[in-house]
């Protein structure tokens, strides 16, 4: 008796498309649901992280600006690069805060209606106040870290804040009895980045 090899195979029903063929209609919504869920989780995670970063930056910039400006009155004594400069002592405190929060910042002074580029001022450690450099070349009107380069991608992650302050400057060459003869109403600009 001849054995038909074909007839020995299990008979598959018509339209059978594999072991999971009947489950495909159920699997597809499940897979789709999983994709949707993980996309939502990923999106939420990214969004919350970004917002936390922004909030953190805002909070840090407020804190640093608050420390730097003090009571909104600052003075610089270009005849003495030491302890007489209130801004320098405020700056030290601000640097400590920034380090503890693991953020970078830079701060300088600009005119109220300044048209100067903040990027340029910060890159070049400039301020819009005269007599800000001591005889030994120390910058008195500058605080923080200078970013290597303000490229367009980097600047998107920057957060800046400004507050008006009054700055009195005792220029180099002033005598000890001289009052602070130069007074400026300026904005202190604080730029914060991670």
């Amino acid at each position: 008796m001849r054995v038909n090899a074909k007839s020995q195979k299990p008979k598959t029903p018509k339209g059978f498309i594999g072991p999971i063929g009947f489950d495909l209609p159920s699997i597809m919504p499940i897979v789709f649901a999983i994709i949707v869920f993980f996309s939502a989780v990923s999106y939420s995670y990214t969004t919350v992280n970004e917002k936390n970063n922004v909030l953190d930056s805002i909070e840090s910039s407020i804190k640093i600006a608050d420390i730097l400006k003090g009571n909104s009155y600052l003075f610089f004594d270009a005849t003495d690069s030491g302890a007489k400069n209130k801004f320098a002592s405020n700056c030290e405190k601000a640097v400590n805060i920034a380090q503890s929060k693991n953020i970078n910042f830079a701060a300088t002074f600009v005119k109220l209606d300044s048209s100067s580029s903040i990027e340029w001022l910060i890159e070049n450690k400039e301020s819009e106040i005269d007599s800000c450099t001591t005889a030994d070349g120390k910058h008195l009107c500058w605080c923080g870290f200078s970013p290597k380069k303000f490229d367009s991608n980097l600047s998107k992650q920057f957060w800046s804040i400004s507050f008006p302050v009054t700055v009195d400057v005792k220029p180099p060459g002033s005598g000890p009895e001289d009052i602070y003869p130069q007074s400026y109403l300026r904005k202190i600009i604080v730029v914060v980045w991670k």
Partner: protein
């Protein structure tokens, strides 16, 4: 009779529905996350800015090049406000001429522009009122005010003098002859300018006392108040 696979397909659909709802809730949560905190931080910045501005004005003495030993914060404010480009600054600082700021005599457009710069972008979407009054002579018209609309559209509180303000608010103590924060808050802004219908809310007020020295011929105690509100 349920066909094979049919029940699990509907189960899967239900699963999809539930997961979609959870995902939508997650997205919604992440979108709204931090908005309140951000608003609170912006309010903090507004408060800090107002305080800084007032403190800076309190300490301001004179601009570079003008060597005097006096302390003239109000003069400094006026100097900053008008950028020394207006005729009365640099010539004389009489009481009348300071008051004449209210009379639109001296470059109103420039004044508005400069004040806008002075107040900074944080105030662009804020209303602002700036008032000065003489404590010793409350009936003098020594009030200057303005409020921001948006961007370039600044409105001027015309010639609103102390007396008019007093009449409007009805809350200013005649005995003390000073503005109180509560009385200022009680002034509806639409009374200050009939074209507007804005009421101060979330207002920040700080009052500072100045002494205007001999450049104004006499010493005057001036109370300055700065208010802002959401537009």
């Amino acid at each position: 009779m349920i066909a094979r696979g049919q029940a699990s397909f509907f189960d899967a659909l239900t699963f999809l529905l539930i997961v979609s709802a959870i995902s939508a809730a997650l997205v919604l949560f992440s979108t709204s996350y931090g908005l309140q905190a951000q608003k609170a931080l912006y309010n903090t910045i507004d408060l800090d800015y107002t305080n800084s501005l007032m403190n800076a004005l309190l300490h301001a003495k004179y601009e570079t090049g003008e060597k005097t030993s006096g302390n003239y914060p109000v003069k400094e404010f006026v100097i900053q406000a008008v950028k020394r480009e207006l005729s009365f600054v640099g010539s004389s600082y009489t009481k009348d001429k300071l008051i004449s700021l209210n009379s639109h005599t001296y470059g109103e457009t420039k004044l508005k522009q400069t004040l806008k710069e002075l107040m900074g972008p944080v105030f662009y979407q804020k209303g602002l009122i700036f008032l000065m009054t003489d404590i010793d002579k409350p009936n003098d018209k020594f009030v200057y005010c303005l409020f921001h609309e948006t961007g370039d559209n600044l409105e001027y509180c015309s010639d609103s003098g102390f007396t008019e303000i007093k009449d409007i608010s009805g809350h200013i103590s005649k005995k003390e002859n000073v503005f109180s924060a509560s009385s200022l808050l009680a002034i509806p802004i639409n009374k200050l300018n009939t074209n507007k219908d804005k009421t101060p809310s979330n207002t920040t007020t700080k009052i500072a006392t100045f002494i205007i020295d001999e450049n104004f011929r006499e010493k005057r105690h001036v109370k300055m108040t700065l208010m802002l509100w959401d537009l």
